[in-house]
């Protein structure tokens, strides 16, 4: 894989994951997810250029269509339909959120996860950033009160895992990438159906309004 490409896109991926915590508008979070997915597509394209396998080209195209175009488009349409312009608030304020993100990043780069980030020793920094992105995505799901943010958190987590796998050379066969993409597509459809149901019943995407589960 092209080292210049890696040096350029991995920081972009990491920064988009961090930026998801700071952005207030749901539409912009969808755009950040699209940008994140574009990074994945670019790396897959780079792998295809090296290997020349036809299936890898199909995977790259499918990633572009599903993750870069369709999923964010679906998301933006949902936002417009239910007028969910602004994301629900978060539990931690912005300065505290950034402190936690910094701690997560430091932890991912530390000796705790050495066995993971040294799978490919020459890419230690980038693997650490991919791992940080995974943990930051989980933090997004925990910190944000909106159902839409939780969806993006899960999709971002999936992107981060795929990024880690590509960088660490853990890529599986193209046929299975198709299976994973198909799974994610169905997941997106189901999650968005649920957001519609949540909005219909609660009038809001704020998950703290969910208090019907009682013993």
């Amino acid at each position: 894989m092209n080292d210049t490409l890696i040096q350029t896109v991995i920081p972009v991926f990491f920064l988009t994951t961090v930026a998801m915590h700071t952005i207030k508008k749901n539409q912009n979070i969808a755009i950040l997810y699209s940008l994140q997915s574009l990074v994945i597509a670019a790396l897959l394209a780079s792998v295809f250029i090296e290997n020349g396998t036809f299936f890898l080209l199909l995977i790259t195209m499918a990633t572009l269509i599903v993750k870069v175009i369709l999923a964010p488009g679906f998301f933006i349409r949902l936002v417009a339909l239910h007028k969910l312009r602004f994301a629900a608030s978060s539990y931690a304020n912005l300065p505290l959120t950034l402190v936690i993100i910094s701690l997560i990043t430091a932890m991912a780069s530390s000796g705790i996860f050495e066995s993971l980030t040294n799978i490919v020793a020459t890419r230690h920094t980038y693997l650490a950033l991919a791992l940080s992105s995974m943990l930051i995505s989980i933090f997004l799901m925990v910190n944000r009160k909106g159902a839409l943010s939780q969806i993006i958190g899960i999709l971002s987590l999936e992107n981060s895992i795929v990024l880690f796998a590509i960088l660490a050379g853990l890529e599986q066969s193209a046929a299975l990438q198709f299976g994973i993409l198909f799974d994610i597509s169905i997941w997106i459809f189901i999650a968005f159906s649920f957001v519609t149901m949540i909005y219909r019943h609660l009038g809001s995407e704020d998950v703290t309004n969910m208090r019907s589960l009682q013993d």
Binding site: I119, A147, F164, L170, E171, L176, G179, A191, L202, L213
Partner: protein, 465 residues
């Protein structure tokens, strides 16, 4: 076929026939595995002894669930709670759920196992929100988010195992056997990290503490037959995936790491579930916490090793049958009393004498009283750990006593309390009685007699796992 059929009855019959075919098929596969050790007619299928046991459990619980679902949903339709369209969707999603579990259990590749376990999550999300009420949607949302996150972490752990392969080796489908063969090439620290992610990921599906928070809500809000499938069929499928990864990790790191982790998660699940059951107000949530407790006992058995492995496998079988029976009887209770609150259900033995009796017998069996099989498996699990993990074994005994006390006070009040005059006794549909009765009879028979082919499978699984 259930997708194309418009007629509700025809759809139910098609599903029932399919479940019978699946049951016959899995018994046939199990006998082939018992005679030859494994079954793999195609490259993407590999069924070993434990997979065969799990597939039989899916088939048995699936058959009884299908048989129970038809009269159960019919009753709800007559009450105006649901319509024909919703019943049709139920059977379509039920079939997808069963198919996903079968493929996950029979797959030769860990990634296909993951894909179809994720598919099982997706196919059940709408089953949990079946009644389209705020509480059911909340439960389904919680289930979707927690399980999807867990399974993604499980997927990450799965990928980490592939580090043992070079890029060229990884171009095709990596199978369980290939992973096992390459396990000694894995960096031990990487294998440990991978197993942690796998245990957290698939342990979420199993409902182990601390990834258990979705379980009581999901079990209490989904239709009773679906609760039976979650507890009786899904738990063994998730457990199978964890144990296959455990075997691979043990080759790379030695057995103590995975055993200690399983013991830690197991005891935490048992203790937390035991205390949680003391303050429950909803009998379906009670069954949810009971499932967490039993998942803990099962992984504890595998963690202790030795006779604990045999106990854990038998416990999985008995628990699947008896917990499913409890869910079916709870469904009958819900149909009669229109309430899942424990305080609103009294005098079952008078109002629903057969259901009440079956409910009470299932409770006795599932809490580990003799002469049922679970009594022996719990004793065996505790004795497996007594030598090396004495304090943990003592904690297990105390927790199980607490579980019994908690369960006992609710069940006795429900079954033997003063009946409510507003609830008319009788009107028990025989088709709602047969499935739980069938499962209880199977559990009783298996407590005393295990067919030879099943004995072979269990013995082989004990050696392998």
């Amino acid at each position: 076929m259930s997708i194309v059929s418009r007629h509700r009855k025809r759809m139910s019959i098609i599903t029932l026939i399919a479940s019978i075919i699946a049951l016959i098929g899995t018994i046939d596969i199990a006998q082939k595995v018992a005679s030859s050790g494994s079954y793999g007619p195609y490259s993407f299928i590999y069924v070993d002894s434990l997979s065969a046991i799990v597939m039989m459990l899916i088939a048995v619980i699936g058959f009884f669930t299908t048989a129970y679902s038809f009269p159960y949903l019919g009753r709800e339709r007559r009450k105006g709670l649901i319509g024909n369209t919703r019943i049709k969707k139920y059977f379509i999603q039920l079939n997808f759920f069963l198919a996903a579990m079968f493929i996950s259990a029979a797959s030769s590749s860990p990634v296909i196992t993951w894909i179809f376990l994720e598919a099982s999550t997706l196919s059940t999300a709408f089953l949990i929100s079946y009644y389209d009420k705020p509480s059911t949607i909340e439960a389904a949302w919680k289930y979707l988010i927690i399980n999807s996150t867990g399974l993604l972490l499980g997927f990450f752990g799965t990928l980490l195992y592939f580090a043992a392969f070079s890029q060229s080796d990884a171009s095709g489908l990596i199978t369980w056997q290939m992973l096992a063969a390459q396990a000694s090439n894995l960096d031990p620290n990487l294998a440990k990290a991978a197993f942690v992610f796998v245990l957290i990921g698939y342990g979420t599906k199993l409902g182990l503490v601390p990834m258990h928070t979705w379980k009581p809500d999901t079990y209490s809000k989904s239709p009773a037959p679906i609760g039976a499938l979650f507890s009786g069929a899904l738990i063994p499928v998730a457990l199978l995936a964890i144990l296959k990864f455990k075997n691979i990790t043990d080759t790379a790191t030695g057995v103590s790491f995975t055993q200690n982790l399983l013991i830690a998660f197991g005891i935490a699940s048992i203790v937390i579930a035991a205390f949680s059951m003391l303050t429950v107000k909803n009998y379906k949530r009670l069954l949810g916490y009971s499932s967490i407790e039993h998942a803990g006992i099962i992984v504890l058995g595998f963690g202790f090793g030795g006779i604990g492995v045999l106990a854990a496998i038998l416990h999985t079988i008995y628990h699947s049958l008896l917990k499913s029976s409890l869910f079916f009887t709870s469904g009958n209770i819900l149909l009669k009393y229109h309430s899942a609150r424990i305080k609103n259900v009294k005098g079952l033995i008078n109002t629903l004498p057969v259901t009440g009796t079956l409910f009470f017998i299932s409770f006795i069996a599932v809490t580990g009283l003799p002469p049922f099989g679970i009594f022996l498996t719990e004793i065996a699990t505790i004795s497996a750990g007594a030598k090396s993990y004495l304090y943990i074994s003592i904690l297990v005994v105390l927790s199980l006593a607490l579980v019994f006390v908690g369960f006992f006070k609710y069940v006795v009040a429900m079954v033997f309390g003063q009946s409510d005059e507003k609830v008319k006794p009788g009107d028990e549909n025989v088709w709602l009685i047969i499935p739980p009765l069938g499962l209880i009879l199977m559990a009783i028979v298996l407590s005393f007699y295990i067919p030879p082919f099943l004995q072979t499978l269990i013995q082989d699984a004990v050696v392998k796992y």
